[in-house]
């Protein structure tokens, strides 16, 4: 289908940091035994990335893999890759107890960028976002004000945040408020 719509196409707010919806992203929830070599191999084949440590993302040529829980990963790739990856994972994991499911459309993704982007998130999520505690590659599944969310930090210091699609409006609203001009805290 050509007429694919993300939750808030083109939404963007410019304050002391920039908040923008990134458009559709491919996402696959993979649950299984994270210590399994078969699973690690399947993930490597799907994304080109190794297994992430707890609280981290690992990166590969096709996207990244985020550590969600002791038995769950999130694979983040281009939107049109997710379906094939699910098929490939199911294939590779035959005989393993695992669940791979396409959740791309259940999500909205935002990028928060700017020198002090961390402060935008620190107003909403109970996470230590200092450079020392949350360097690039860090990932956290947490609470964003009143909704569940997860985010990671990119090499350029920006953040990408994933939440449920149904609350994209709310997420954009609180992120924008938190990025409001004049509201810099000045510590991150």
């Amino acid at each position: 289908m050509s007429d694919l719509k993300s939750a808030l196409p083109g939404a963007r707010f410019d304050g002391f940091a920039t908040v923008e919806e990134t458009g559709l992203r491919g996402m696959v929830t993979l649950r299984g035994d994270l210590s399994s070599k078969v699973l690690a191999k399947a993930v490597k084949a799907a994304v080109g990335a190794g297994m992430p440590q707890s609280g981290q993302v690992s990166r590969g040529d096709k996207g990244l893999v985020a550590w969600m829980s002791p038995d769950e990963l999130l694979l983040v790739v281009a939107h049109d890759l997710a379906g094939d990856i699910v098929v490939a994972l199911n294939d590779a994991l035959k005989g393993e107890h695992a669940l791979a499911v396409n959740v791309s459309d259940a999500r909205a993704v935002f990028r928060i960028a700017g020198d002090h982007a961390a402060e935008v998130l620190a107003k909403l999520a109970p996470v230590d976002l200092s450079d020392a505690a949350f360097p690039p590659g860090s990932f956290r599944r947490t609470r964003l004000a009143q909704i569940p969310a997860a985010f990671w930090r990119n090499e350029d210091g920006s953040f990408e945040l994933v939440c449920f699609r149904s609350v994209a409006d709310y997420a954009f609203g609180i992120l924008s408020k938190s990025a409001m001009k004049g509201s810099r805290v000045g510590v991150l």
């Binding site: 289908m1 007429d3 694919l4 719509k5 993300s6 939750a7 559709l24 929830t29 649950r31 299984g32 038995d71 939107h79 107890h97 695992a98 669940l99 499911v101 396409n102 959740v103 791309s104 459309d105 259940a106 999500r107 402060e119 620190a122 107003k123 909403l124 999520a125 109970p126 996470v127 230590d128 200092s130 505690a133 004000a145 009143q146 909704i147 449920f164 699609r165 149904s166 609350v167 994209a168 409006d169 709310y170 997420a171 609203g173 609180i174 408020k177 938190s178 409001m180 001009k181 004049g182 509201s183 810099r184 805290v185 510590v187």
Partner: protein, 1003 residues
Amino acid sequence: MSTRLSTGGKYLNRSDQRRFTFNGKQFTGYEGDTLASALLANDQMLMGRSFKYHRPRGVVASGAEEPNALVNLGTGGTFEPNQRATTTELFDGLTATSQNHWPSLEFDIGVANNAMARFFPAGFYYKTFMAPRAAWKHVFEPIVRQSAGLGQVPKDRDADTYEHFYAFYDVVIVGGGVAGLQAALAAGSAGAKVLLMEQTAHLGGRAVIDGGEVDGKPVDAWVADAGETLDAMPNVTVRLRMMGAGVYDHGYVLGYERVRDHDPMAEGPRHRLWRIRTQQIVTATGAIERPLSFAGNDIPGVMLASAVRDYVDGYGVSPGDRTVVVTNNDDAYRTAISLKKAGLEVPVILDARASGGGALADEAKGLGIRVETGKGIAKVKGGKRVTGVAVCAQAGEGAVLEEIACDAVAMSGGWSPVVHLWSHCGGKLFWDEDQAHFRPDPNRPPTSHDGKGFVIPAGSANGPMDLAEVMGDAHAAGLAAAKALGLKSGKAAAPKVAPQPEAAMEPVWLMPQGAGPKLRMKAWLDYQNDVKVSDVRLAAQEGYESVEHTKRYTTLGMATDQGKLSNINGLAVLSDALNQPIPATGTTTFRPPYTPISFGAIAGEARADTFQPLRKTPIHDWHEAQGAFFEPVGHWRRPYCFPRQGETHSDAVNREINQTRKSVGLLDASTLGKIIVKGPDAGRFLDMLYTNMMSTLKPGKCRYGLMCNENGFLIDDGVVARIDEDTFLCHTTTGGAERIHGWMEDWLQCEWWDWKVFTANVTEQFAQIAVVGPNARKVLEKLGGMDVSKDALAFMEWKDGQLGGFDCRAYRISFSGELSYEIAVPASQGRAFWDALLVAGEEFGMMPYGTEALHVMRAEKGFIMIGDETDGTVIPQDLGLNWAISKKKEDFLGKRAQERPHMTDPSRWKLVGLETLDGSVIPDGSYAIAEGTNANGQRNTQGRVTSTYYSPTLEKGIAMGLVLYGPDRMGEVIEFNKVDGSTVAARIVDPVFYDKDGEKQNV
């Protein structure tokens, strides 16, 4: 009169004048003023009226402890009551009005209460309003409401914004006085990540005014240097205008930052609530001076000695030409010296101690100030302003020795450490006899998860009042915090301060100590709540021994200041009346916040459009554009109906139902929960979760199931589709998706952790659209694609395929009784698919229907709805759903509970259909009445309505309800109550009103 001095004022920037109004009068002040100092500079000593007696009240203090000078600040969207003038920084254009008076501050009718004071003793509310009972509501309460109370309630929506901020530090230091600064230097140089917060706009605290030398520098120069040193340390953050509001378990601290109260036109949030995790907390919160209890100590012009000093030296304000100083300690001599040095008169220092003071007393005498030892104030003369004092012997009963004219009185009853933050989380206190105050007991700190203390008091908050001791204590506190983190002490050394020994203070809880009832009735303990020495004594006399009870009975220490000035004096008086030592009486409980914080700061971003997350389906925008009327379902907003021009909501609902039943309608069912359950044990798991058998379901088929909790009560229902041998997709109710997913994970993680099952909530991955009605198949066929004929896709089957070019999964399930398909497409294509359906359905007059039409149609079919037919006390058997409860299964959640006698009791109310005889609709929530009344005189009942609607299909009111022995009473007529007191007769019938054999859905 009070006035601005021509020079002086350490906090002032005299080059920047600020205009403001008070009760409509134009005044000016300077940058650096507080509202209180600016009012005093303009001779506005009278700032408010007291709570109970409406006595005229002036400012007493100069900081957060101020009980009297509360004002209404701002107007309209920035209006805020009960703002302390002493902590309100002056800005250009500030508008303030005084509170609790009528008709005016200068002339207040309520002051009659004052003359009646002897009729308003402690506990008068409890005594006076006991009887007759009806009089409270109609007589007493209206009068009390009119005469009591502080500020007004804001009428407009708050125009400002607020926010939270989550922060993480090793050490949080509360208080930016010299102790806080030194503790920060010590902890910071050891390498700790430190946050230092100071509630005022400047560092240094009292020491800047009180003077002294640290490391050979005047203390204000040392403060400036320390501030610069800390600024230069990358691991130390210093925030001004930020109060430590509360200390909570495991090192959680709330910091209340007033970002732009001093600069309201600036951009950004007004307040910011810092939610801080830290390892160690240093409370360098200083000390608060205590008033003395003498008659007339509330007359405007009587102030704390330290406050007088602040106004003179900090703000360049004279509280009056002649100020009498009255004290029981050496510190107040500093005030006399300050006044004298500013060129003002101090007619006398009344030192209650017979032995008098030490070096500071000598310095005062050297300046030519008269000092009287062993003397006190019998009473203050004056009404709206001090005019003089009557001097007496402290040891006596108040015989007047001499009257001395004056404009102000500076009093000091000693100093109490600010122990609030130490105490919030359980830190204990002990009574220091020498200084007559409670201070933190280092052996009993608040403890963290490891049983170790996590709060360290520093400086005068820990007891020491001498600058040398304060600095030494603070340095040690900073090092102790670093050590607790496992850090080695850094290069910061303890500062060198020459000790300035002072003569010992002597506790004075009543002045004169033998004051009789007449004087005691005018000796105020709590200014804000009008509690006097006589009130506390009366409470003791009436049997109130616990300080907590006395607080509630007398109102001592209540309201916005929470007794910062009054508590110690009050409990000393109580102890005296009870003839027990002060530590035996103890203190009331210190609770956060330290001073009131704004509701806006607590709410943070949770207001207006982001008050709550609203969940929206991929088709929400279309609904909105159509003018749908929404209703909340969980956090979702779902269209209730789609009214057209001129239609009422019930018109719209009826049209939507008729159209669907006669031709075809469509429903946005995207909100239905969808949970994938996969694994070799998935069937076994679902057999435990649902009351019926799921493991026997064949791939490609659907089955309706019920879920109960372990107590047997029905908690959710929905259709389960088996995807393949290992995989099921469970539909839940709209509001139940997250709850049921959590329920599944709970059982899998905590109880059946060895079962091989994984779950995933994929609710939002799909837009799910129900195409419903006799023409539903034709619409889908028009779209083209997969075979949707009865043979290819029978009732209660599902298939993957394509429709109109969209990849989809089609379920043949029906909640309306009609031929019905629920079609799931990826959410990103939901809107496009909806639009395609609308086009395809046009020739059939297809229109969307909302949740109300859905409800009515399911009720016509006798289908239950979780939340209507269930309320947490209903089991499936109550609803006649025995067919969906497996008798073969050994176990399922709720099985054993449903076998308990109460659950199998035949007198449980059971589900039936109800048809009114006159065709009307039974009101929602109606009860079926029975003969007689219960013990409370209420009508007995024999059932209640659970769903009740007008059915456009049957053209009459239909209902479902739970009725005593209902299924056995078919055809019987019972009465349901109505709001107007009358009843409506309804016949008990089968709950399935429409197409009982299900022929319409199975075509």
